[in-house]
């Protein structure tokens, strides 16, 4: 109960922080939708079956986008907020990167995931003349499961990023390459190799597959997918928590410099 109260308190703080940055959220939303339209309209148009392309790639974009935001939020905490002293204030109150990720997870998944997905789907369906029945998921329950599954995956991706950023000397520019790499398994479906299970190295693949399954375009068999999700998703939260503690211990010993 105490843990849940703490989580809700953090989310409450995150909601207020998001309200302060409302204009930035709106701008980022419009910006990301336009970028996705620019990159993915040709991807759909060059495909043999436009509807199949939409149902395969757009759920992947939703998941990739949330993974990308998890990386950005982490780098924000460890780079920009270090410069402004907010990272220290957070840590002085016994809160680490895991807590910071919890403050924004619901906003990021709603705004950068769901809202951006809705706007993108509307924009692309307009470009590609796809009807509403094809745009909407055939199995809404699976789609909701995918959205909920984004929470532990967001936390894991954020924690791994934090660990890599704190223990190594990589600059934040290299995090952009990580944001591109997570397209493998999300936007790029895991059917391009003979063994699809290799793609599970990317934690976001399972969620992308669940989202694709809601359209009937999944590569992994649905039962296998649900079984894997039941095991891995709770595991992601635990692993994310311990990785965050490790990065925090590292910061306590060595400090964290502001770097580009």
């Amino acid at each position: 109960m105490r843990v849940l109260t703490k989580v809700f308190k953090l989310m409450y703080i995150g909601t207020y922080i998001a309200r302060i940055h409302l204009s930035s959220y709106i701008a980022w939303l419009v910006n990301s939708v336009l970028w996705f339209i620019f990159i993915f309209t040709p991807v759909m148009m060059l495909s043999q079956d436009v509807v199949k392309a939409f149902q395969t790639f757009v759920p992947g974009i939703l998941v990739m986008s949330c993974g990308g935001v998890a990386i950005s939020a982490t780098v924000e905490f460890l780079r920009w907020n270090v410069n402004q002293g907010i990272t220290d204030t957070f840590r002085e109150n016994g809160l680490n990167i895991f807590a910071y990720l919890l403050t924004g997870v619901h906003i990021d998944i709603t705004v950068h995931g769901l809202l951006s997905y809705i706007l993108l789907a509307l924009g692309l369906s307009n470009y590609l003349n796809i009807g509403l029945p094809e745009v909407l998921p055939k199995n809404p329950v699976l789609f909701i499961i995918a959205i909920i599954s984004l929470i532990p995956t967001y936390l894991l991706i954020g924690s791994i990023t934090a660990y890599v950023y704190t223990v190594s000397r990589v600059s934040s520019a290299w995090m952009l390459i990580a944001q591109m790499l997570i397209a493998v398994g999300t936007v790029i479906p895991p059917n391009i190799l003979t063994s699809s299970y290799v793609f599970l190295a990317n934690p976001l693949t399972i969620v992308a597959e669940l989202a694709r399954a809601s359209y009937g375009q999944n590569v992994f068999e649905l039962n296998t997918l649900l079984q894997i999700s039941l095991i891995t998703l709770p595991l992601y939260v635990v692993v994310a928590y311990f990785i965050s503690i490790k990065s925090d211990e590292y910061i306590s010993r060595r400090g964290l410099e502001y770097r580009f």
Partner: protein, 276 residues
């Protein structure tokens, strides 16, 4: 006297750009990777669910020429170089103006050393030109590898076209950034600058036929040379299409002259306001 003053600013800006190139080398490398990633993704991702020949055939119909897979990839690589050019020219030229006159407050130093008009014009020319060279240099080995000696010629044409486009974009964004910096009290001005590159790129229909693009987006694109330079880049890897190059050059001259005149007149009037 005016020439020497302008030359000193240009030299100072070139020095600053070289220092920043060293400092932000990782960002340049990422921009090369990002452009290559986009170019390959647009052709290869559809192949994960479609027949290779159909993807190439559809891309050929967009370009208006019959292509094989390797040429289609090369055309895609060339086209993707427009993406970082637009993103960097628009964002970075604007951010310098926002930062120097709104946040870091080195504006008084600049005004003490030179005229605002010279600084804004030199910044638009030097920053966009040098950054374009930095972010498109990866095309040189790619083109020489793919097309040998003809690749060098293609690179020169591509680089020249992108340089002209970048300078026009630099002048265009200088106008927008000056308006925001000196006439409004927007607390997050970079929001506007960040929004312009995807608007221009989405409206230009670089990888898709322009008639598919909604009119509202096309308006943002056609006040820049990007739709025309993309036509040059679509064809240059296969043959030197003179009509496309001539159309681009005519549009570029008109846009360059217009933006140069407007920016010069506007920044001259701005001088008094800013100094006051």
């Amino acid at each position: 006297m005016v020439f020497i003053g302008l030359l000193n600013i240009v030299l100072a800006l070139i020095y600053r750009e070289l220092v920043w190139f060293r400092r932000f080398l990782a960002d340049y490398v990422v921009s090369w990777v990002f452009a290559s990633f986009i170019s390959l993704s647009i052709i290869l991702i559809p192949m994960s669910i479609s027949d290779v020949n159909i993807v190439v055939l559809r891309f050929s119909s967009v370009v208006g020429m019959e292509l094989d897979l390797s040429t289609a990839l090369l055309v895609s690589i060339l086209l993707s170089s427009i993406v970082p050019v637009v993103a960097v020219c628009v964002n970075d030229v604007a951010h310098v103006i926002f930062a120097e006159f709104k946040f870091i407050d080195v504006g008084p130093l600049i005004l003490g050393s030179t005229k605002l008009k010279y600084y804004l014009l030199a910044n638009a020319f030097v920053r966009s030109s040098l950054m374009t060279l930095g972010i498109t240099i990866y095309l040189l080995p790619v083109l020489i590898y793919a097309l040998s000696f003809y690749g060098l010629l293609v690179f020169l044409i591509v680089e020249l076209s992108l340089q002209i486009s970048a300078i026009i974009l630099g002048l265009y964004i200088t106008l927008v950034a000056s308006l925001i910096t000196f006439y409004t009290n927007v607390s997050r001005p970079w929001v506007v600058a960040n929004l312009l590159p995807p608007l221009i790129l989405s409206g230009s229909g670089i990888y898709i036929p322009t008639y598919v693009v909604p009119l509202i987006l096309r308006v943002f694109a056609y006040i820049t040379p990007i739709p025309y330079v993309s036509r040059v880049l679509q064809t240059v890897a296969v043959c030197l299409s003179l009509p496309e190059i001539l159309t681009f050059l005519i549009v570029a001259v008109v846009l360059l002259t217009s933006y140069l005149v407007i920016t010069t007149v506007f920044s001259s009037r701005l001088e008094f306001r800013v100094r006051r």
